[in-house]
């Protein structure tokens, strides 16, 4: 387990366990939690209160989902997966949807690491692909 002082997401230092774990975008979590919510309602009806952690998270992802259509969400993951991004980077980009190359590099500083092959052109293409999906949602 990475010690607190060594952790730094901007350099992708988040601990081996978490680098291996799958990072989910808010939009993906929204779909999963909504589905679970429907299941829970069916099983126990409206009377049983939901765990607070679940309820707050569901509220949050519904508010912060950039893509609402299940098909688009899948497309976003497919498209971003073609760019050799770490899971963490993919999720941050999918969540924040930067509009310019400059913004993308500011919110995902690990992209700037030399030797990763993410030149400005590649990042620009990535952002355009994202924009296309948003346009046709």
């Amino acid at each position: 387990m990475l010690r607190g002082e060594d952790e730094d997401a901007s350099e992708l230092k988040i601990g081996e366990d978490f680098l291996k774990a799958k990072c989910l975008m808010n939009s993906e979590v929204a779909i999963l939690l909504e589905h679970r919510y429907d299941q829970m309602k069916q099983m126990s009806g409206d009377s049983t209160p939901l765990p607070q952690v679940f309820e707050k998270s569901l509220q949050y992802v519904k508010c912060f989902s950039r893509f609402t259509n299940q098909g688009s969400v899948k497309q976003v993951r497919e498209v971003l997966s073609r760019y050799q991004l770490a899971e963490f980077e993919l999720a941050v980009i999918g969540n924040l949807c930067p509009e310019t190359v400059e913004e993308a590099k500011a919110i995902v500083p690990s992209l700037k690491t030399k030797g990763r092959g993410h030149d400005d052109e590649a990042v620009e293409r990535l952002l355009n692909d994202l924009l296309m999906i948003k346009k046709f949602e």
């Binding site: 387990m1 607190g4 952790e7 730094d8 997401a9 901007s10 350099e11 230092k13 988040i14 366990d17 978490f18 774990a21 799958k22 990072c23 989910l24 975008m25 808010n26 993906e28 979590v29 999963l32 939690l33 679970r36 765990p51 607070q52 952690v53 679940f54 707050k56 998270s57 949050y60 992802v61 508010c63 912060f64 963490f88 999720a91 941050v92 969540n95 924040l96 930067p98 400059e102 913004e103 500011a106 919110i107 995902v108 500083p109």
Partner: protein
């Protein structure tokens, strides 16, 4: 950041429930797992526990002296954790003299200290706000703010995390 992780868990089935076999036993194990999971709000290492997505495997049960049987289960679930250096978006819920409090996902107390809000000034009043005089931008209750995580603190007794964030950096601040 929301994560999907695979975790091990030991599910204890008391002797009374062991009469059922096969599918009923599997159901009993799953139900107990769900209950145990829901009761466990968060841990320091994994963050907040949101929902189980799949039960990956149920191993062979081991009988304890008490007669209970312990089943080693591996399951996948959704968790939430804040990472230092991560850029997040949160919602302001309180404006204080020395900063604002935000929530992000299940984390309810994320503090943005006034000295980490460059160009913003506290304006007191019935509904206090933080105002950026240069841009006219306001940080007030219910505003969405993009910020960078400086650090988190795990509170063992309350079983929750507190976060500390900053607006120092490009492309950070209120989100329209």
């Amino acid at each position: 950041m929301f994560l999907k992780v695979e975790l091990p868990w030991n599910v204890v089935i008391p002797p009374a429930n062991l009469v059922a076999k096969g599918l009923m036993l599997k159901k009993s194990i799953s139900l107990r797992l769900l209950k145990g999971f829901a009761a466990n709000k968060a841990t320091k290492d994994h963050g907040y526990f949101l929902a189980i997505t799949t039960v990956e495997s149920i191993g062979e049960g081991k009988v304890r002296r008490s007669g209970d049987v312990v089943y080693p289960v591996v399951f996948s679930c959704i968790t939430f954790k804040l990472f230092r250096g991560e850029i997040i978006e949160g919602v302001v819920h309180h404006v204080l003299r020395n900063g604002v409090l935000m929530n992000c996902g299940p984390v309810e107390n994320i503090f943005l200290y006034k000295d980490l809000m460059p160009d913003y000034r506290y304006v007191p009043g019935e509904n206090p706000i933080f105002l950026n005089e240069k841009t006219g931008s306001k940080i007030v209750k219910d505003v969405l703010v993009r910020c960078v995580v400086l650090g988190t603190k795990w509170l063992e007794e309350e079983r929750e995390f507190r976060g500390l964030v900053s607006l120092e950096g490009d492309y950070l601040g209120p989100v329209s």
